[in-house]
């Protein structure tokens, strides 16, 4: 029997009013635009990321794509011209692990949709819960981040992420790729998530280890079940005479994972756990991406040998251990890069996704070459998630996600002059600029 809870009408009205008072007051996102126009950004220093820097060039944007890049590129008639003398063009930055669109105010449960209940949430996918009007979206993109992986967080298997362009009237308009990956919190070793403990839970290390082993076994069993489920499904497709199979949406969702078709992002921090993840990935034949990986540098050679990329971050955090060097969290990315591991950066956040470039910048201050730091917020995340044919660099044919800046976008003092997302010239306004303008004008 289905139970329906009916709220009295006045309550619903109040709830709606409250919600609109909360979120609707200043939208800060009246920027999803109409059809894309043709633009020519001229006299710009173009940092293509994948090719050489063009010192004085033109980028032409048409139909939402980059239609031409180069020094002697003609400007199409009717194009809106942006004179970028003294300015630089970069690809829009990509934050490789966030909660953007899923959360608004951390402490207000009603505004947070990041964590589902239960161990196995393989069948949930964030694209249905993205809020295009979230004030975080505009706040993030005006600092040059045009694209973000938005991922669910709860449980052992958290669910499926989506890669979003940070502009659009509907979630579907924002999606670059969905599902992008399956997200798993490695038991007992997550990147700040999926860990044990909390108030009143004082357990011995031995107990915690047993619990961890039990959960890893559980994960293994779920994946074996998914493989068997997939095989049975294929068998019945070939032979309808076989007995009918009960539908299990969770196992169904894992079939592409166990077949190595969908990448698995595993949140894991410590050396011991990363080693376990590497072994697990080989045994289960998974296409693994490590997220967090604060101690990944200690396992860099193995990660390189197995071509496992690491989404490093947040970089701006304390070292993992009391006796680590003070800069351990800052040097991690540089050491991984030196060992040849493919890296991208993440903020693992929503409200602070705008600070993505400073995570990369801090890694560059502590050993990562500057151009690698830039790649790790542009083309590398695109490569890791299989969307490098569409975003991550200033190249002809790619989605026109571009930023025009007065300097290095990883530097705090740099100002962003234009943000293009899918060819649209996005107004540089947000909830924050609107409140700023309002109170600047207070007599």
């Amino acid at each position: 029997m289905k139970m329906k809870r009916v709220l009295p009408v006045p309550l619903i009205v109040i709830a709606v009013l409250c919600a609109s008072a909360l979120f609707g007051l200043i939208s800060g996102s009246a920027s999803a635009q109409g059809p894309a126009e043709t633009y020519a950004i001229r006299n710009a220093r173009i940092v293509t990321v994948t090719g050489p820097i063009i010192e004085n060039g033109t980028v032409v944007i048409a139909n939402g794509r980059i239609s031409a890049v180069g020094a002697g590129v003609p400007v199409p008639s009717g194009a809106k011209i942006i004179d970028a003398k003294g300015l630089s063009v970069y690809p829009g930055m990509i934050d490789a692990d966030t909660e953007i669109g899923l959360t608004e105010i951390g402490s207000v449960a009603g505004s947070v949709d990041t964590n589902e209940i239960g161990d196995n949430n393989a069948n949930i996918h964030v694209d249905v819960a993205i809020r295009p009007d979230s004030s975080h979206i505009a706040v993030t993109r005006v600092n040059g981040i045009t694209t973000a992986v938005s991922a669910p967080r709860g449980g052992l298997i958290a669910g499926q992420s989506a890669i979003l362009n940070l502009d659009g009237w509907t979630p579907r308009e924002m999606i670059v790729k969905s599902p992008a990956a399956m997200h798993v919190n490695w038991p007992g070793g997550g990147g700040g998530r999926g860990e044990f403990g909390g108030f009143g839970q004082q357990r011995s290390v031995a107990e915690l280890r047993r619990e961890q082993d039990r959960q890893i076994e559980n994960l293994k069993k779920i994946l074996h079940d998914a493989a068997a489920y997939g095989d049975a499904k294929d068998a019945r497709a070939k032979d309808p005479a076989l007995p009918k199979q009960d539908v299990d949406l969770k196992l169904e969702a894992l079939i592409p994972v166990v077949r190595g078709q969908m990448p698995v992002v595993i949140n894991v921090s410590m050396e011991r756990d990363i080693r376990a993840v590497i072994a697990f990935a080989s045994e289960m034949k998974l296409k693994v991406i490590i997220s967090g990986g604060i101690e990944a540098y200690k396992v860099a050679d193995q990660l390189k040998a197995r071509n496992i990329p690491v989404i490093v971050g947040p970089v701006l955090r304390m070292p993992a251990r009391e006796d680590d060097p003070y800069d351990a969290a800052f040097t991690n990315a540089g050491l991984l890069s030196k060992a040849g591991v493919k890296i991208a950066f993440q903020t693992n956040d929503s409200a602070y996704s705008r600070n993505l470039p400073y995570h990369a910048g801090m890694a560059a201050a502590f050993g990562l070459p500057k151009d690698e730091a830039l790649k790790a917020v542009t083309i590398y995340p695109a490569e890791i998630f299989g969307i490098a044919d569409r975003v991550g660099s200033v190249e002809q044919g790619k989605i026109a996600n571009l930023i025009v800046t007065d300097g290095d976008p990883l530097e705090i003092r740099t100002q962003i002059k234009h943000v293009f997302i899918a060819g649209r010239d996005i107004p540089l306004t947000s909830r924050h600029t609107e409140l700023y303008e309002k109170y600047k004008a207070r007599p």
């Binding site: 402490s107 108030f199 031995a206 705090i412």
Partner: protein
């Protein structure tokens, strides 16, 4: 087993009581001891001169000096100029060619080194408790903050209470006795808190003792503060009457000493600075108006994320704002927070500082200052002041620290590049002319520390006759850690 735990608990609480009594009675005595300690430090510190030469000196008070030198003598800045020579033949010479020197970074809102909980959360008025009694000099964060150029901190009680505990203004002089850390003549201060935290509105899941309690509204917070001060005024009058009477009447009976009210009387007498945690414009105005009504001064508003809405009123009250560069959205009262807050408050004449409220963020406040330039176009020196001179002014210690001026303490940071560049690395941090962090030394020591650790583990194993120590005693293996979030994800830590 249970019996034993009980016994341990009893012993613990006895110890706690004893130490509380000791700290209460030791209050005056300790102060004298501290003053003596401080003078002995000054005598012992940096007997030789130090010369920093060929540096780009960002003074925070009088602009940037290119290719300049700073001569340090007896822990103080003795001279600043283009081409200085030390008097002492054995002076330490630091060639800072291509590097930048700034004043030591001052964090106007810290909880670093507080041993245990930052909140005495059982009452909403706890003006008797003192942070200075619970500083843990071995906190790892302290060295890490020095490695980020932070030399001085306003270590505050948490924000669970309308009127919290007393602060400690100190320098991170690791290796010295803690009594020598406190800035000797820093005006004492106290933490107040407004809004969601003293309301205890985000505390589901906390132990019941602190989860729910009066006040539970912003109205109740105001009444809690008003009531406490009305009591304090009565108490102050009783003492004044007694003091007037005792000269002529040797049988005059003194009022009963109340340590909670003592601290509030100091506020009323202008001897103790109020540093009030706050978020929303309404609660900020409430406190400013209440301070007018009761006759006390609010020295700083901390966090003050909606300060930009009422900056005019703050400036009129000569109340400083100590804010985050760009925190927002972690709770409802932080939803109108904007990164332009610092710039807007400053433009209305408020003295503004940028603080950390976080052991991690305290390591990179120099970059937080750069955000004031990005958001709202604050000039370079004004931005630098937000983490140096301005917090010094807010804490009443600007005659000693906060800028590179002759006669001030030689608290200095040497950066590899411009301190506002994301690519910069703090290379050396000095307090009163002594080097407390040197990146080169740090890098050199790493191999030795690794060897020492391996040796200790080996010795431990050998002592156990080759048997491996129990799992939770193997320092070479990762231990499951509690969730360490670099940001207040969800609810703000109870600060």
């Amino acid at each position: 087993m249970e019996g034993m735990m009980k016994k341990i608990n009893v012993i613990f609480s006895l110890l706690l009581t004893v130490s509380m009594i000791a700290s209460v009675f030791g209050q005056t005595r300790k102060e004298t001891k501290l003053a003596a300690g401080a003078s002995s430090v000054a005598a012992a510190a940096a007997p030789v001169e130090t010369l920093i030469k060929n540096a780009t000196i960002m003074t925070a008070s009088h602009g940037t000096i290119n290719n300049g030198s700073i001569l340090i003598r007896n822990g103080k800045i003795a001279e600043i100029g283009p081409n200085l020579k030390p008097r002492d033949a054995n002076a330490r010479i630091i060639d800072a060619t291509g590097k930048y020197v700034t004043p030591g970074i001052i964090d106007c809102h810290s909880h670093t080194g507080v041993d245990g909980n930052v909140n005495e959360g059982s009452l909403s008025v706890t003006s008797m408790v003192r942070i200075r009694d619970v500083i843990d000099p071995y906190s790892t964060s302290i060295y890490r903050e020095l490695a980020g150029g932070t030399t001085t901190a306003n270590v505050l009680h948490g924000s669970a209470n309308s009127i919290g505990g007393q602060n400690a203004v100190l320098k991170w002089k690791i290796g010295k006795p803690v009594d020598e850390w406190f800035v000797p003549d820093a005006p004492p201060g106290i933490k107040f808190a407004l809004g969601e935290n003293p309301k205890r509105s985000n505390n589901q899941g906390l132990p019941p003792a602190t989860a729910r309690r009066y006040p539970a509204t912003r109205m109740g917070v105001e009444e809690t503060i008003r009531e406490a001060f009305i009591k304090a005024k009565d108490y102050m009058r009783e003492w004044q009457e007694y003091d007037a009477k005792k000269a002529t009447d040797k049988h005059a009976i003194p009022p009963r000493r109340d340590l909670m009210l003592d601290a509030l009387v100091e506020i009323l007498q202008g001897k103790r600075f109020v540093h009030s945690h706050s978020y929303r414009d309404d609660e900020i105005l409430m406190l400013l108006n209440l301070s007018d009504e009761l006759g006390f001064h609010v020295q700083t508003l901390q966090h003050v994320l909606e300060g930009y809405k009422v900056a005019k009123e703050m400036a009129a009250h000569k109340t400083g704002g100590s804010t985050f560069s760009d925190w927002w959205a972690y709770k409802l009262e932080a939803y109108d927070a904007i990164p332009y807050n610092a710039a807007l408050m400053a433009s209305r004449g408020v003295i503004v500082s940028m603080n950390s409220d976080s052991d991690e963020l305290a390591r990179r406040l120099y970059l937080e200052a750069a955000k004031a330039m990005k958001y709202g176009g604050v000039a370079e020196q004004d931005a630098l002041r937000m983490v140096t001179l301005n917090p010094a002014i807010q804490l009443g210690i600007d005659k000693h620290v906060g800028s590179i001026d002759v006669g001030k303490d030689a608290d200095l940071v040497i950066f590899s590049q411009h301190p506002f560049s994301v690519y910069t690395v703090p290379e050396m941090t000095m307090i009163e002319g002594e080097i407390y962090f040197d990146r080169n030394e740090d890098l050199k020591q790493r191999e030795a520390l690794k060897r020492e650790k391996a040796e200790l583990i080996k010795r431990e194993r050998d002592q156990r006759g080759g048997a491996r120590p129990p799992r939770n005693e193997r320092p070479d293996e990762p231990q499951p850690r509690p969730n360490e979030s670099p940001r207040p994800n969800g609810t703000e830590p109870q600060r």
